[in-house]
C-alpha cells in the first residue's frame, strides 16, 4: 500500500514536533521568559508607563507576548534544520522515499505546529488578563496564528540554511531574532516610536509580521475596537513571500555542495 505524500508530510511534521516536545529544558526556559515578560515586566511597568501612550500596559503587552511566544516556538525549527545541513544529515534525508517538496513543506508545517501548540496556554492567559475573543473573532485568531507560525518557521529555515557554517548560521539567526523581537510593536506603540525615531522606521516596525500579528491579536482580545483589514492582507503577503523564499533556499541547499 502506497503512502500518500500528505501522510509523509504529516509524518515528518509529527517527528519534528515530538523532538520539540522532548526538548523540555529549552521549553521550560522559554516559558519562564514569556511568563516573566507578562507577569513581572508588564505588570510592574503598568504603573510606570504614561497613560496617554498606553492606558493599560499589561493589557497592551499580553496579546503582543502571544505573538512573541508563537514566533519563538516556530523559529526554533531553524536550529534543527541548520544543524542537519551542517552535519550533512540532509544526505540521509534525501535518500528517504519522500518528494523533496514534501520534505521542505513538512519542515515548515512542523514549525507551524510548534508555534500553534506553544501559544495555547498563552492564549488562555491573555483571555483571562484582557478579555476572551467573541465567537466571530476566533476564526481570525486561528488564521493569524497559522500565518504567523508558517511565516516564522519559513524565515527560520531560510536563515538557517543560507550557509553550512555554524558561525554564520548562528549569527544570522540571532540577528534576525533580535531584529524581529525588538523592532516590533510588542513592547511599544507606534505613537511612541514616531516621537523617538524618524520615518520610515516607525512605519517599518509596525509592518513586520510580529507587529501585524500583535495588532490583530489585540483586536481579537478586544483591546482594539477596530481592525484594519490591510494588516491581515499584509500578513498573508509576508507568509506567501517567506514560504516561497524558504522553500527555494532549502530546496537549493539540500543538494548544494
Amino acid at each position: 500500500m502506497e503512502i500518500t505524500e500528505t501522510k509523509k508530510l504529516l509524518f515528518i511534521a509529527l517527528r519534528d514536533l515530538e523532538r520539540f516536545i522532548n526538548s523540555k529544558y529549552w521549553l521550560a526556559g522559554q516559558i519562564a521568559m514569556n511568563l516573566a515578560d507578562i507577569f513581572i515586566f508588564a505588570l510592574v511597568l503598568r504603573g510606570f508607563i504614561r497613560r496617554e501612550f498606553v492606558p493599560d500596559y499589561l493589557q497592551y503587552m499580553a496579546p503582543g507576548a502571544v505573538a512573541l511566544a508563537t514566533f519563538v516556538a516556530s523559529f526554533s525549527i531553524g536550529r534543527e534544520v541548520g544543524m542537519e545541513v551542517r552535519r550533512e544529515i540532509v544526505d540521509y534525508l534525501l535518500t528517504l522515499p519522500v518528494k523533496r517538496t514534501t520534505l521542505v513543506f513538512g519542515r515548515i508545517f512542523s514549525g507551524m505546529l510548534r508555534g500553534l501548540i506553544y501559544q495555547l496556554p498563552f492564549i488562555v492567559i491573555v483571555m483571562l488578563l484582557v478579555s476572551p475573543p467573541t465567537i466571530h473573532k476566533v476564526p481570525l485568531l486561528i488564521l493569524t496564528s497559522v500565518i504567523l507560525t508558517i511565516t516564522m518557521s519559513s524565515l527560520a529555515i531560510a536563515v538557517s540554511t543560507i550557509s553550512r557554517d555554524f558561525n554564520i548560521q548562528a549569527t544570522f539567526r540571532a540577528v534576525t531574532y533580535y531584529l524581529l523581537f525588538f523592532f516590533s510593536n510588542v513592547f511599544y506603540t507606534k505613537k511612541v516610536l514616531e516621537l523617538r525615531f524618524p520615518q520610515p522606521l516607525p512605519d517599518i516596525i509596525t509592518l513586520t509580521p510580529i507587529s501585524l500579528s500583535a495588532d490583530i491579536y489585540r483586536w481579537c482580545f478586544n483591546y482594539y475596537a477596530k481592525l484594519e483589514i490591510e494588516k491581515l492582507l499584509l500578513l498573508i503577503v509576508w507568509g506567501l513571500t517567506l514560504t516561497t523564499l524558504a522553500a527555494t533556499i532549502y530546496l537549493r541547499n539540500l543538494t548544494k555542495r
Binding site: 521550560a28 515578560d37 513581572i40 498606553v54 540571532a174 525588538f182 513592547f187
Partner: protein
C-alpha cells in the same frame, strides 16, 4: 612561603585558562554585542519616552541613564551566568576531572576558577561599559575605578554561584534550564528596568528585588555616577548595597570552595 607562591601561581594559571576560553567564543561575543546595541539604541530610547519618569523625580534623559546602567548590569550577569554552559561542557569533555587530578588544592582550584570566570566576564563586557559611560557622558576616574571593581566583585560572586550549582547538579540539561529560568526571572525581578519605588507597588516583587544582587549592583553603578539624581530611588543605602555585594562575593566563593573541596568527585555527569 613556597606554598603561597605555588597557590598564587595556580590561581594565575586558572585565570589564564578562563581568559583563553572566553576569547574563543567569537559568535557569542557578536550576538551579545548586537543584543546590547539594540537594547541601548532602540529599547532604552523608547522606554525612556514611554515611562512616566516624573513620578520618580527624573526626566526622560535621566531615566535613559538609569536604564543603560541597568542594562550593563544585566549583560554582565548573563555573560557570567553563561559560564555555566562552559563548565558543563568541560565536565562532559573530562576537563573538570583533569583539573581535579592536578596537584592544586581544591580550594585554590575553586577560587581560581571563580576569579578567572569573573575577570573574563568583566573584561568581555568592558567595551559595553565604555559605551554606557560615553552615552551617560561620565568620565570621573574614581567612579570608573570603583564601578569596575564593583562589577568584578559581582561577577566573581555569580561565577562562584554558577560553579556551585553546575558542579552540584552535574547535568547539562538541568544546568541549561536552571540558568535560563534564573536569567529570565532575576533580570526582570530587579531594578534593571524600573526603580525600587515603582516595584514597591507590588510588595512580593519589591522584596524579591531587594534580595536580588542585580538590583544592588545596578544601583551602585547609578549612584556612583549621579548621586543627586538617583539617591532617592536606589534600593538601599549605598554602604548597605556595597556590603551586600561583598557578602555575596564571600558567600558564593566560599560555597564554591566548599563544594569543590568536600562534595565533588569525578564522574556521575548526566
Amino acid at each position: 612561603m613556597q606554598k603561597i607562591s605555588d597557590d598564587l601561581r595556580a590561581i594565575v594559571l586558572l585565570v589564564q585558562w578562563d581568559l583563553t576560553k572566553i576569547v574563543r567564543r567569537v559568535i557569542f561575543v557578536a550576538m551579545r554585542a548586537v543584543w546590547f546595541a539594540v537594547q541601548v539604541v532602540v529599547f532604552g530610547q523608547v522606554l525612556a519616552q514611554m515611562v512616566n519618569a516624573k513620578v520618580i523625580g527624573l526626566d526622560a534623559s535621566t531615566y535613559y541613564n538609569f536604564y543603560i546602567f541597568g542594562i550593563y548590569t544585566s549583560i554582565l550577569f548573563t555573560i557570567t551566568a553563561s559560564r555555566a554552559y562552559d563548565i558543563a561542557e568541560e565536565f562532559e569533555e573530562g576537563i573538570i576531572e583533569y583539573q581535579l587530578s592536578l596537584p592544586i588544592k581544591r580550594k585554590v582550584l575553586a577560587f581560581g576558577r571563580a576569579i578567572g570566570s569573573g575577570i573574563a566576564s568583566t573584561l568581555f563586557t568592558l567595551p559595553m561599559f565604555v559605551t554606557v559611560l560615553i552615552l551617560a557622558k561620565e568620565a570621573d576616574p574614581l567612579a570608573i575605578a570603583i564601578s569596575i571593581i564593583s562589577a568584578l566583585v559581582f561577577s566573581i560572586a555569580i561565577s562562584g554561584l554558577v560553579l556551585s550549582i553546575t558542579l552540584s547538579i552535574k547535568s547539562s540539561d538541568a544546568t541549561d534550564i536552571l540558568m535560563g529560568v534564573l536569567d529570565a526571572i532575576l533580570v526582570r525581578l530587579s531594578t534593571v528596568f524600573y526603580p525600587a519605588v515603582v516595584l514597591k507597588n507590588i510588595a512580593p516583587y519589591y522584596y524579591g528585588a531587594l534580595m536580588n544582587p542585580l538590583s544592588h549592583v545596578a544601583d551602585i553603578l547609578r549612584i556612583l555616577y549621579s548621586f543627586e539624581d538617583f539617591k532617592a530611588i536606589v534600593i538601599s543605602h549605598p554602604l548597605a548595597m556595597a556590603s551586600y555585594v561583598l557578602g555575596l562575593f564571600m558567600g558564593f566563593t566560599f560555597l564554591a570552595m566548599y563544594i569543590i573541596e568536600k562534595k565533588i568527585e569525578g564522574g556521575g555527569w548526566k
